[in-house]
Symmetry: C2
Subunit: 453 residues, 2 copies
């Protein structure tokens, strides 16, 4: 028979069993972390009606959509988890309780240009808190705590959550009479790290934007405010009273910073950063980015912000919210590239492999049943192979223990347990063996999936 060459589409991540175990572990920790903060899991279809999904979209996003017809229905694959959330909340409004806190970890689709490390199918791991009409500022203050707890649980230490408030930026440019130029200014200012203040000033006062030198100077002074959180907030107080939006933003930012300690976020993992702006049209208040300190080239690994109107394309209801998103597939890929996935994380499919050494299999099966009832992930190996091949199998899977059950062991009511890491083999009672395997398995599952060198 002619064979079809098997392949996986480029831009689609398909992992081997061991990295898949690491990915599963990360997802489990995300679910657990989000749940601790009172978020409920949600699952929405991958396919939506195009007129629903694309009610808002346009431009670059629309080009990337996987869109097709089935019968006479115009369908699209979701390109993020925010639009489906907006649809969900508008559709099920009457049945939900607000604030509605949901997390969703799911695949989304974007037909991006194929490129190493760019994915067309990728997981996003999102949380959002949606209010009905209003949403208290404390929800925005809680977000850094969730980011901190989540990344710490994954094993990261060297990261920083960077926060700004779009009202401060918009208010500041308004007080300079530069509201119209604000987008151009923010785009230019965004280059500060790369090109330095002189060149930014030159661009700001250049023909295209056309600011006065004093305006450029004030902007650079403002953007350049540095220091610990208290110092930055104190410096910002110098602009208070000149624009109501600015003052509101400063109050919000102050409220977000105020409770960091109560929320358990160490000061050194958080920074007010006036250069953070995020998407210009969607976010309206607090904005968040998360940087890996030793890998600035990766960019933000968790971003989001406050928005005033989640579902305006579907409903008259005013539904403000705040949310963050982790691009999980890309994060996993980058961590792998950087060698930051913990090699000690258990990735074997079983905690123990049982090798029966007798024709009669009943004792080995009964032992496997007993171990499984004790919560131990157990594989029973009964293929007709040479002993050496059986051990090679155990070795390749990375199982921590092999358990032999031969005539002698059965006669004595014992088992032979081999520790594959040390090579040590011991004759133990089934209870002893079970306790040893369980202890090592439990220890393995406390390890974080990420390690920093």
């Amino acid at each position: 028979m002619a064979k079809q060459k098997p392949r996986t589409l480029s831009g689609f991540m398909e992992l081997l069993p061991q990295p898949q175990q690491q990915m599963e572990r990360m997802m489990e920790l995300l679910r657990r972390s989000y749940s601790l903060y009172g978020f409920t899991p949600l699952d929405t279809p991958v396919i939506e009606a195009s007129e629903v999904l694309l009610a808002k979209a346009g431009g670059e996003t629309e080009k990337q959509i996987y869109r097709f017809t089935k019968g006479d229905t115009d369908l699209s694959l979701r390109f993020d988890l925010t639009v489906p959330l907006a649809k969900y909340v508008a559709l099920h409004y009457a049945e939900l309780s607000f604030p509605f806190r949901r997390y969703q970890i799911g695949k989304v689709y974007r037909g991006e240009r194929a490129q190493r490390g760019r994915f067309r199918e990728f997981y996003q791991a999102d949380i959002d808190i949606i209010g009905d009409g209003k949403l208290d500022i404390l929800n925005e203050a809680e977000i850094p705590a969730i980011i901190y707890h989540t990344f710490t649980a994954l094993g990261l230490r060297r990261f920083q959550i960077r926060v700004n408030n779009r009202k401060i930026l918009n208010g500041f440019y308004a007080m300079l009479g530069l509201s119209d130029q604000a987008p151009d200014i923010m785009r230019t200012v965004d280059k500060l790290d790369k090109i330095g203040p002189e060149k930014v000033a030159a661009l700001l006062t250049g023909e295209e934007i056309g600011l006065a030198p004093a305006q450029a100077e004030e902007i650079l002074k403002f953007i350049g405010i540095k220091g610990c959180n208290g110092e930055v907030l104190a410096a910002l107080e110098n602009w208070r009273g000149r624009d109501p939006l600015f003052d509101e933003g400063l109050d919000e930012l102050t409220a977000v910073v105020r409770h960091l300690g109560d929320f358990g976020v160490p000061e050194d993992h958080f920074a007010v950063d006036l250069t953070i702006a995020r998407g210009l049209d969607y976010y309206t208040g607090t904005v968040y980015e998360t940087a890996l300190l030793d890998h600035p080239e990766i960019g933000s690994v968790c971003s989001g912000g406050r928005y005033d109107n989640l579902a305006e394309y579907y409903t008259e209801k005013q539904l403000p919210g705040v949310g963050i998103s982790i691009g999980l597939t890309r994060l996993f890929y980058v961590l792998g590239e950087q060698g930051m996935l913990n090699p000690d994380l258990p990735t074997a499919p079983a905690d123990v492999l049982i090798l029966p050494m007798t024709e009669q299999l009943s004792p080995a099966i009964a032992l496997a049943t007993r171990l499984r009832q004790g919560g131990i992930r157990t594989q029973l190996y009964t293929e007709q192979k040479k002993f050496k091949q059986k051990m090679a199998y155990a070795d390749k899977l990375g199982v921590p223990f092999v358990l032999f059950l031969g005539e002698d062991e059965i006669a004595q009511g014992k088992v032979s347990l081999k520790d594959m890491a040390t090579g040590e083999q011991a004759l133990l009672s089934p209870e002893e063996a079970q306790a040893r395997i369980a202890a090592q398995a439990a220890a393995g599952w406390t390890l974080p999936p990420i390690v920093e060198k």
Copy 2:
């Protein structure tokens, strides 16, 4: 602004938060159960190249495929998890260890006619064991144990795993000289439960199939073998020695039945059932179905079998395997319809809702942080609402506890904890409150998601 009416496509399940929690719980238990038996989790793309995915497909299946082009690539959404597994194993053959035991829980797509309880996007929860060249019969014997453990963990009691062997059926029809008519006969015999033996005999001896009355009689006698597993096997021994394939099948079935006790499967949850045939062309040995005894109308909730060649469309390698599949979305839907989802399962997004009763929020936030560090799913409610509305929110979410923190409590270093089920409120130390919330949460998570009435 004109609004787009929000809607979810028909045939696509989208659950409200509380049922979603039940679904999540079921998935978690499936992952845990499959892992106990040494299966490794796998995740493959939802989209595959059409020429890869459809290498084998044809007829009815192909019509249901979601197939489309993006750029100039012909793409299809997976319609099961078996074809992607075949592709995966063929593609990554050199990097896998055999037997390769994987589980996969993922969405698949079939453009079926819209109908109540029929889904176009649905979860399958599959396990397969793939051998390289050979696969020991004990793997087939282990499958009923996995089914038994999995459904028991979900909370089901009244179910039965029904097993047959296709070699017995094919061997039996061969010894009657009826190999060519075997498919027609099996289709007819399948109606036995509905129309009774007389009508089946009439159909078998009718014009279309044209068997002799003695042949029909022998078939009915064979198919009608009933009794406990030992009795059925003993009866089958009467046909031994007349066809080698039959004898092989009988040996295999005997081997599968022999170790049920060692595998922890009670005899009353398992039956040799000669009427089970499953798909005619794919399965080659043991076949499995799982019936809910009080709901025969639901049909099999977990089916599968042994196949000789998983990936013949992709590789010359002989890769025999055995697998089972649970149609999770349909199962969940049916359980809901039958009122079998456990109403006592915790479905609230949090174990406790904290209501700060003071302007100053620090103590409430610090308490939330402390509870979360103790593993308690905690929501902090700070919206500006009337007390009654706050309590209504807690009630609607179904949180088991509300914790009040007012001036008095703070002054005394205590908290007021209200048990929402009993209405009792107690002034407790934070430690006492934490212990009580944790104990109730832990008890809740031991409840199964399914209950039988």
